[in-house]
Symmetry: C2
Subunit: 444 residues, 2 copies
């Protein structure tokens, strides 16, 4: 393969990574300015990079309390980083997802992408405009309802600012808040819960899916991608709510002392936030070990392709679950909704999960060496960073310098990683003409 030198010949994966790097660095520099922080000294550079990465990767892990440490200038910088980071990932991945619908291969798609001039540039601009338009529309509606709700608690100007901030943060699955304790003041508040969870789910479901549902087609006419995203998301939300409810039912530090209705609402929120929003309405550190472990699994699965959410993605999970189901029922093909998944899809899904596992395990092991905290808290932190979730049992602020650097890299890898890998898998295709004879091995 010839090496690419010119910027015009960068691969989409490289453009994505480079773009994020530039935005993060600009954001970090702005956060070091004296006007960014309430103490008038600016943030130190490492923590600025941490915060800018967390915002741009729409993760939400924080080393300083966003509400008290930053001025409104600093908060707006963070909000802009969230919006840029969120739109960036949505546009890039929606383009790939929509092109996927046109039944061209990943390889063909890449070749097209590498030579944009010959592609329908107008089509791309139309898609980007659509994504931005829908984003602002949904965020606007969310901000307006939150504004009305917050009017009951605060003056109009502040209510508007808080409405806009949390609507953007929720739809982009960023998890940043300016209340100082996430949404713990609103554990049983139906309006706030309903608006925020709807924004999170819409933001995490992906644009291709939103577009197809909005088109008014019936479920059975949806693409396999949309059917799979909708079903896996629904199953994860329902199962997540039930299991969180059961596990935390009698925990007085979380939902134990709430009336039944609020218990259900809080359990639903516990089930929504790992997909991969990062807000919390009950203190994450007070959850039972079993709930934390369960949340780790939900965070690892994450949101859907073409969305602001992270993780290995609902479709990846669905594809692997389909393998198990097909084998268990004795089918030769991997079937989903009367469609067949090719082995390339399964192999890609498996590769993504394996790389993600390798990353998460390595990061966890490094953290258990460099940090003082409990294993489960560090495991949680690693998966939260990888999945760009932003939930934490409380160790983020006390991370060592090495720990902070590791989490910065993990957030970055978690953001550009899965998409990059998905592209790279197809990209580095060598011409292998030799086909070796098949031989069986015994597994299990």
């Amino acid at each position: 393969m010839k090496r690419r030198l010119s910027i015009h010949n960068l691969t989409p994966a490289q453009v994505l990574s480079l773009g994020y790097l530039v935005v993060i660095l600009l954001g970090a520099i702005l956060l070091t300015l004296p006007i960014a922080t309430t103490n008038g000294e600016g943030m130190n550079f490492l923590d600025s990079v941490f915060t800018a990465t967390s915002a741009t990767a729409v993760t939400g892990l924080i080393v300083e309390n966003t509400s008290t440490f930053f001025t409104v200038f600093g908060q707006v910088v963070i909000l802009c980083l969230i919006q840029i980071g969120g739109l960036g990932i949505m546009c890039m991945s929606t383009l790939f997802a929509l092109l996927l619908g046109k039944k061209i291969t990943l390889r063909e798609r890449l070749i097209i992408q590498q030579d944009l001039d010959q592609f329908e540039l107008s089509g791309i601009i139309r898609i980007v405009k659509y994504v931005i338009g829908v984003t602002f529309a949904i965020e606007g509606i969310g901000a307006f309802i939150l504004f009305i709700r917050f009017l009951f608690d605060m003056p109009a100007g502040k209510a508007l600012y808080f409405g806009i901030f949390h609507s953007i943060s929720a739809f982009n699955n960023a998890g940043f808040d300016i209340f100082g304790n996430s949404l713990e003041n609103f554990t049983g508040d139906i309006i706030v819960n309903l608006v925020i969870t709807s924004l999170i789910v819409l933001g995490g479901i992906g644009f291709a899916v939103i577009a197809e549902v909005y088109s008014g087609k019936r479920f059975k006419n949806f693409s396999l991608q949309t059917k799979l995203v909708l079903s896996v998301t629904a199953i994860l939300l329902i199962v997540g709510t039930i299991i969180s409810f059961i596990l935390e039912y009698s925990n007085p530090a979380t939902i134990g002392n709430l009336p039944l209705g609020e218990k259900v609402i809080a359990s639903y929120f516990l089930s929504v936030t790992p997909r991969t929003a990062g807000f919390n309405t009950v203190p994450t550190g007070a959850l039972r070990s079993s709930t934390i472990f369960f949340t780790i699994i939900l965070m690892f699965i994450g949101a859907s392709p073409g969305s602001t959410g992270g993780g290995v993605k609902t479709t990846t999970f669905g594809a692997l679950a389909a393998v198990l189901y097909s084998r268990a029922t004795g089918r030769d093909d991997i079937e989903l909704f009367k469609r067949r998944l090719g082995k390339e899809t399964i192999y890609n899904a498996l590769s993504i999960v394996l790389i993600a596992l390798l990353l998460v395990v390595t990061v966890t092991m490094i953290l258990t060496i460099t940090e003082e905290a409990e294993f489960l808290d560090l495991f949680f932190e690693a998966v939260s960073a990888f999945g760009t979730v932003g939930l934490s049992t409380g160790v983020t602020g006390s991370l060592s310098i090495i720990g902070r650097i590791v989490i910065i890299l993990t957030m970055f890898a978690g953001r550009v990683g899965p998409l990059t890998i998905a592209l790279a898998i197809g990209e580095r295709k060598d011409k292998v003409n030799i086909r070796y004879p098949k031989e069986k091995i015994l597994v299990g």
Copy 2:
């Protein structure tokens, strides 16, 4: 499919499970006898079932100290259970593994197995004889060397008994000891370490592999199965030794205060025992969190098919790693040693790992609810039970009744599960003639 009613029509998986159940129950009854325990009261039934399951499944988790709680009668019962359990799994899985070499499909193999009379019964008897012969030969050599070594520490009769007990326990990857503190008296003892680790590795590598290596063929002429088992085992042992050495280097509670040579020996032992022996030469509970987490991964992978070891198996791990490697290098086929793995093999490997993960996660979650211990210790216990490893950070003895029952079921599932699943996957084959159209989804 017609239902099978007669015992002659039981599937191999059912025969295996039923056989283990009968042996465990008989063993448990013997352990409740007054002559089995030093206090003359016999063991209570739940703990007897626990101990008998642990011995028959060659796991090695214990609720009472084998050296002090049981009389020689009780210890010999345990030893017999180990030998029966070990030989049972070796014979069953070796038969399947060898038949695999004859390039007949799992389905054909099952049909043959279901109708033994028409199959070469003499061939099967020959294989069983071979397995038993080799087992006793290796155990005999191991026992003899250990006997000589133990003569330096104890009278001849005791040395002989201890030599036989620990040789059988090591080769069958059972992990039971009658020293009372596993092999912690021998942390730096070269003879004991060399003999025990060799027995463990030989026992965990599988008979088909032993037979092929013993045949004198060159590596390049080995079957893919043998090549894969040998390479993955070697890689896991080397990487395991290095990582254990680095992680524990400065831990005074384990290898920190040992001279360099003994540090290396102890690290090697730490790398061997998760494959899935269960002996320990340093206190498992004193290992660092990072080492415990790393050991959990090694235990989950486990030993090789056709052996006494548990886990999802080295070949399963190798097959999935091959997928990642093939995708990363842009190959369409999954290649290993110039051979191609079919998608059925990959799907089976993936299914086994998913079921194992589901089991381990469920068991861990149940334990975090029913037990008081730390998450990491319970996670370790669950994987140790599933992988029939028998290592414990020290929580086994203080498990609640529910915890004991859960671990009993996990040990049983970990023993008969992977093989049963591997068989069942092929077995429940429905006639599915409809082939659905292929459709792509975006993963990652």
